[in-house]
């Protein structure tokens, strides 16, 4: 026997209306109650913004997991925020698939280093990575810092390091990039707005 979607809906309506026994010969009520459970029930809502273009669509991320000990919070569903005056709950194909970006198994979890001439990466720990980074940064700054230019003008710039990015970080991190890098004397600095 096959049940069409229409039959099923009819059955649902009947069940909801108080009918006890379906055409199948047994009480469908508990089964329907089960099927009506939304996958987001029990999830907590977080208001976020779509990470793609700059329309700034309000997005709700539904998250399972309490965040407590031995639990991992995980996004189980994403949809447009109906309250947003910008997108009114709509999302485009990219926005609608944000969950796959958020929960991607392709995201990396370990710093890596590639030596000169090497054909592969090697995993490194954060302490090693940041020590190496700071050492390279300082050495390049020391070697290329210009206090006065050829005309004797005070310029205090680091000519040997460039910084690019990013239009994907928050305002707060964007500000921190500018604040720290300008204090370090960086002048070659740009992000996606240029290109």
């Amino acid at each position: 026997m096959t049940l069409s979607r229409r039959d099923l809906l009819k059955g649902t309506a009947l069940a909801a209306g108080g009918s006890l026994v379906s055409a199948l010969g047994f009480d469908l009520k508990p089964a329907y109650a089960q099927s009506r459970e939304l996958k987001i029930s029990g999830a907590r809502e977080y208001k976020t913004i779509c990470p793609y273009c700059a329309v700034g669509c309000g997005t709700i991320a539904y998250v399972h997991g309490s965040g407590g000990l031995n639990t991992t919070r995980s996004v189980i569903h994403v949809e447009g925020d109906p309250d947003s005056p910008i997108n009114g709950g709509t999302l485009c194909p990219k926005g609608a698939s944000q969950m796959q970006l958020a929960m991607s198994p392709r995201l990396e979890h370990t710093p890596k280093f590639r030596a000169a001439g090497a054909t592969e990466w090697q995993d490194v720990d954060w302490d090693w990575a940041m020590s190496w980074f700071a050492r390279k940064y300082k050495d390049a700054r020391d070697a290329t810092f210009v206090e006065r230019d050829a005309e004797g003008r005070t310029v205090n710039r680091c000519e040997g390091i460039g910084w690019v990015g990013s239009a994907t970080v928050t305002n707060e991190d964007a500000y921190l990039i500018t604040k720290t890098q300008r204090a370090l004397g960086i002048v070659y600095m740009d992000h996606q707005a240029r290109i």
Binding site: T48, I49, P51, Y52, C53, A54, G56, T72, C92, K94, G95, Q98, Q100, L101, S104, R106, L107, E108, P111, K112, F113, T119, M130, W132, F133, A134, A143, E147, D149, R153, T154, V155, N156, C158, I161, G162, W163, V164, G165, S166, A167, T168, T170, N171, E172, A174, Y175, L176, I177, T178, T180, R182, A183, L184, V187, Y188, D190, A193, R194, I195
Partner: protein
């Protein structure tokens, strides 16, 4: 955007040019559809391709890549010739009546003041004639032959429909049919908007295309009004915010200027950037520049910034020359850059001229890549065709937290800063951008403390009073950006409160008001819309001061009456302004001051000295063009373009070898490169392709679905040919021209891989912004064997 996304619904005409929002900004574009459904607006597109936006538009005009100024110039001419301008607006709110110096002129493709040796203009002659009071002379009748209005008319007289059609490759009839719609909003009861994106900026004349649009919108009286404006549609979630906060070579937060070597003191810097009024009633708001600059220095250097040390002015590096994208890569290419840090960015695929970028990257001593994904740029040393054993660059990759794991704010195209919540925790092994930035800063600082080195006073003195110095909270940074009164610690609610005496601090003056004593304004979720115009003042925070439409004083006439009562931006009630947050003093009566408070003139500029390549926009051919410039053959390309070493040699020399115009673009299923990691999107748009016009495919014996090879003077790509009716042949200066479309989304990393479009694009940029010319170049094509 001068306006914002929802405001598009208030337009009567929506011109989409240099953009494809139905594809690339779908949820924003629905406001254009709503304008059509609710008020009968016309939507029109002008583009080298028939796009998804064209598919829902009322009319489409196909033009040659790089001919935008010719088309806009043709519209400006029509508006002036046929009297289609909004006369009262032009007289009240623009510099049409200003009289220009008698030394100014334009001939044979050059404005006065051009210096052949430096390929640059001395802009001294592009100035107003001054009266004895020091202010610009004006002729309210607009009849003076050197009034801006008459000079404008003379400049664009050459842009006849026949000339435009020849340059753009369209028919005169199609150009005129489009012109009738676009030029129809120059009345008080009609408003027209423009939606543009990188299809306008990515040209050697990009800034001038936008100026031409500005001139047109001012003539039509469309700036400052709901349903009007010039609206840049930006392509990354926080490209607006990252620009506002100045991860940009030439600016500091809030569009303050990076100091230059000749500015030997803070006073000299302030003098250069503090404008003086050119009209007696000009508010000239940027006269407040010193308050914004000193408050920024106080935010950065705290107690170490004092009047005695010029508030730490010399702590800021002064670049020798342009330091933007192309210049940076040129330095790397020349082997002058030692290290490069990339954060949240895939610069290799972003281009232009990937072969050149690969060499530039291999010339670095070291490179650090900070990103949630191990992207192509991190593995440039094993890109196709690269032998890793020949690349000595050391590369460090740091896995950074994702947007979903972080709170903080993004600012959208419409200048709305919206706060987002962290939905999930940062996984083990991953660090936030804030942590990485702080850790780098601290470790470098500690190295200087331990072993000394190059001058490092600014590093020692950088203000860093965060609760957790190794990872400041986003909320702390946000409050620092907003700014506060240093004498009381009170958070400020307006940049009008900023001072230049060191008693206030603000990390970015245009964001003052975003986090006040009343709390985080960016997190507001009020949905009220009392005017029905979509201002939504209770939702998020729009800079500046929660104003939703910039220049909104111009939405009303000289008496403060809205041009259109049904679409009032602001309105003078007799006591104060109502409606949007006024850009005028809230209780300043109309007539007290010029409407455009940010200019020295007090009015908007049809004629402007702010760009380096001319006070009016002029059509120049792309650096790689299929034709000579028929307006002035001897000055075919923008004469002020900067040519990096070896770049002229990397351009096509002959249209025999590279006969086809090409342009690059995005598709809705993808966003540049990160979507290569999203299975659903890769499934929806798996493979690199080339969009080939039907007639050209027939000529080359290419069937739909077969593979083609496309090459430029720099590189090549190979992929599936989508043979299409969407691109028609053009007739440019009497010759048939084919245009080829190439999407940008593929690389050698990701779920599927494909050819890199920017292997083809030229390493040359706009004269003002140095934005590369991705959108118009030459290629050849054949069936792949």
């Amino acid at each position: 955007m001068t306006n914002h996304w929802k405001d598009i619904k208030n337009a009567d005409v929506v011109l989409v040019m240099g953009a494809n929002p139905a594809e690339n900004h779908p949820c924003g574009f629905k406001w254009a559809l709503e304008a059509r459904d609710d008020r009968g607006a016309r939507i029109v597109t002008v583009d080298p391709r028939y796009t998804r936006t064209s598919a829902v538009a009322d009319r489409h005009l196909q033009i040659r890549p790089g001919s935008d100024i010719a088309v806009l110039g043709g519209w400006i001419r029509k508006i002036l010739d046929e009297g289609l301008y909004h006369d009262e607006y032009v007289r009240a709110h623009t510099n049409a009546s200003f009289i220009v110096s008698e030394d100014f002129g334009f001939a044979d493709g050059l404005f006065t003041g051009f210096d052949e040796a430096t390929s640059s203009y001395d802009r001294a002659t592009w100035s107003y004639e001054r009266g004895p009071d020091g202010f610009a002379r004006r002729d309210p009748s607009l009849q003076h032959p050197r009034s801006v209005f008459q000079l404008l008319r003379a400049h664009y007289a050459r842009y006849t429909p026949e000339v435009v059609a020849q340059i753009a490759g369209c028919s005169v009839a199609d150009f005129e049919a489009m012109a009738d719609i676009v030029c129809s909003t120059g009345t008080a009861d009609r408003a027209g908007t423009i939606m543009y994106a990188v299809g306008w900026t990515m040209h050697t004349v990009g800034a001038q295309i936008i100026r031409a649009a500005g001139i047109m919108q001012l003539l039509l009286g469309n700036i400052g009004r709901p349903g009007g404006g010039i609206n840049a549609l930006r392509g990354h979630a926080n490209v607006q915010g990252a620009t506002d906060h100045a991860i940009v070579a030439e600016i500091l937060p809030g569009y303050l200027r990076v100091p230059r070597p000749p500015q030997a003191s803070l006073d000299a810097h302030l003098r250069d950037h503090t404008p003086r009024p050119l009209a007696p009633n000009a508010v000239n708001y940027m006269a407040n520049y010193p308050r914004f600059m000193v408050s920024l220095l106080k935010a950065w250097f705290g107690p170490s910034a004092t009047a005695a040390n010029q508030f730490g002015y010399h702590y800021l590096g002064k670049p020798a020359d342009d330091a933007t994208w192309l210049s940076m890569w040129d330095q790397a290419y020349q082997g002058r850059l030692r290290g490069l840090i990339t954060l949240g960015f895939n610069p290799l695929l972003a281009g232009p001229d990937i072969p050149r970028l690969l060499t530039a990257m291999a010339n670095l001593e070291w490179k650090v890549v900070i990103d949630p994904f191990l992207l192509d740029s991190a593995e440039f040393w094993r890109a196709p065709g690269v032998d890793p054993s020949q690349v000595d660059t050391e590369v460090l990759y740091l896995p950074a937290a994702h947007w979903i794991e972080r709170g903080g704010s993004f600012t959208n195209s419409g200048r709305w800063a919206q706060w987002k919540e962290a939905a999930v925790d940062i996984p083990p092994g991953v660090r936030s951008d804030t942590w990485i930035l702080s850790e780098l800063f601290w470790r470098v600082k500690e190295l200087y403390e331990d072993e000394g080195g190059a001058w490092h006073e600014p590093i020692r003195n950088l203000r860093w009073d965060y609760a957790n110095p190794r990872e400041p909270a986003l909320e702390e940074l946000s409050r620092e950006i907003n700014g506060y009164d240093l004498t009381t610690g009170r958070l400020l609610s307006s940049f009008a409160e900023l001072r230049d005496d060191g008693t206030t601090a603000s990390g970015n003056w245009i964001y003052t008001g975003s986090w006040t004593e009343q709390g985080n304004m960016m997190a507001r979720r009020g949905t009220e819309d009392p005017t029905g115009l979509g201002f939504h003042h209770g939702w998020g925070f729009a800079w500046p001061l929660n104003r939703r439409v910039l220049y909104n004083r111009a939405s009303a006439d000289a008496n403060g009456e809205p041009w259109d009562a049904a679409r009032a931006g602001i309105r003078w009630t007799g006591v104060r302004w109502s409606g949007d947050v006024p850009d005028y003093g809230p209780t300043t009566p109309p007539g007290g001051a010029g409407a455009f408070i940010m200019t020295e003139e007090g009015v908007a500029r049809l004629f402007s000295t702010s760009l380096v390549d001319g006070p009016f926009a002029e059509h120049y051919e792309p650096a790689e063009s299929p034709t000579a410039n028929i307006l002035h053959e001897r000055v075919s390309v923008n004469p002020t373009v900067r040519w990096y070493d070896g770049v002229r040699e990397s351009l096509a020399r002959s249209t025999d070898d590279f006969p086809y115009a090409a342009t690059v673009y995005r598709v809705v299923e993808r966003e540049h490169f990160v979507t290569s990691h999203v299975p659903l999107l890769v499934e929806a748009m798996p493979d690199f392709f080339v969009e080939v016009p039907e007639g050209l495919a027939a000529e080359k014996g290419v069937a739909n679905g077969e593979r083609v090879r496309v090459w430029s003077a720099r590189g090549e790509v190979e992929g599936v040919a989508i043979v299409t009716k969407r691109i028609k042949p053009l007739t440019v200066n009497g010759r048939t021209l084919w245009t080829i479309g190439i999407p940008v989304h593929w690389g050698f990393k990701g779920i599927t891989t494909g050819a890199m479009a920017n292997s083809l694009t030229p390493f040359v940029g706009d004269a003002n912004t140095r934005c590369p010319e991705f959108k118009a170049f030459l290629v050849n094509m054949e069936r792949a064997t």
